[in-house]
Symmetry: C2
Subunit: 212 residues, 2 copies
């Protein structure tokens, strides 16, 4: 906020720490994240981290928030350049699985990995992840709803169901792109969503593509 040099310096450090934390947590897990390793990676001292966050849990929560910001910038932002409606849904899904296929983060998807990691760890971190997931789901549903409202999808489409299935194919792609062949995972996730959208699309020319 302030341009005060003292505060600005601390803010710069915090952002650098969180960016590194997202990368390390994607690999080792957010629970498995080591503060010593995080500090070493940045060339700072571990005790300095506790000057910015009062505990590891506080840093984990901040890391989730930072990962949400990155997701907005890298996945949602580009997709919003596509025209509203079916084309935007498709752009969003493809931006997402492109992200995995490009192996932007060596460890895969921060959210997919972390959400599975916290399946059996109730607490503030899991709650924060669940909130982020809720917002993401609501966003997907809004996009589908817009496409229905624009007449591009049949108006008997179950918006929540369609959004669920689109997201499910993205989740599966996040897993398989690391565990198995990434190209196959990418192609299957892409074709699955295209097929699903076409089944409810009122205008076939909205989704021009070679294979079904």
């Amino acid at each position: 906020m302030t341009v005060d040099g003292r505060v600005a310096r601390g803010e710069r450090t915090r952002t650098a720490v969180l960016d590194a934390a997202v990368v390390l947590a994607t690999e080792a897990g957010l629970h498995g994240l080591s503060l010593a390793q995080l500090a070493d990676t940045l060339g700072v001292s571990k005790s300095g981290l506790f000057a910015h966050w009062r505990s590891k849990e506080a840093l984990q929560l901040a890391t989730v928030d930072r990962a949400v910001e990155q997701w907005q910038e890298r996945i949602v932002g580009p997709a919003l350049r596509a025209p509203r409606g079916v084309r935007r849904i498709r752009a969003l899904h493809e931006a997402r699985i492109d992200f995995y296929a490009a192996r932007v983060l060596p460890g895969g998807c921060f959210f997919a990995n972390t959400e599975f990691e916290y399946n059996a760890r109730p607490g503030p971190v899991r709650d924060r992840l669940a909130e982020a997931f809720d917002r993401w789901t609501a966003f997907l549903e809004r996009l589908v709803g817009e496409a229905v409202a624009a007449g591009e999808l049949r108006d008997d489409v179950d918006v929540r169901q369609l959004a669920y299935e689109i997201d499910a194919l993205g989740i599966a792609a996040a897993m398989r792109s690391r565990l198995l062949d990434p190209d196959t995972a990418y192609r299957h996730a892409r074709r699955g969503v295209l097929h699903r959208l076409r089944a409810s699309c009122t205008d076939p020319t909205l989704l021009p593509e070679g294979q079904p």
Copy 2:
């Protein structure tokens, strides 16, 4: 193998350890599994574990194998009682998501959690998980292929693609049944697969159901 008392006692211990390891690893992760906690849970000594497996990694590999056995008994076995074809595919998928909805393991699905955990951990354990996943995928594809051969699914169905989408909905259900509302996750995963199967089904009476 032998009914020799010495071997039988050790075998009993090994099985008990692995069963407990599957439960603990589903919660804490297979990498995050603590041998001390595992030994305490069973009331045995930690050092005793190293008499049966030469390292933690060896125990982890054995745990994966044991989880595969349990999957066969609890998911695949019941599904194989359904008649071959579309009905068996549906039975398999429903046995799978029923398993999550029933919250049989408090931590969710051993394989889903673990496969995401090992996204960024190359090595023997990840290889073993990938092998198990390959066998599972091949099994799903075989079931779909059987349904096509029996004329229950249209013969222009892409077998691998359909198997991929069925599995993707199961993976997503495994995540959401813990992170979010389990009933919603169950219903969406079920409806998604039914909808997908009906789209390629030659005989609608094979999938009698209320909602689309």
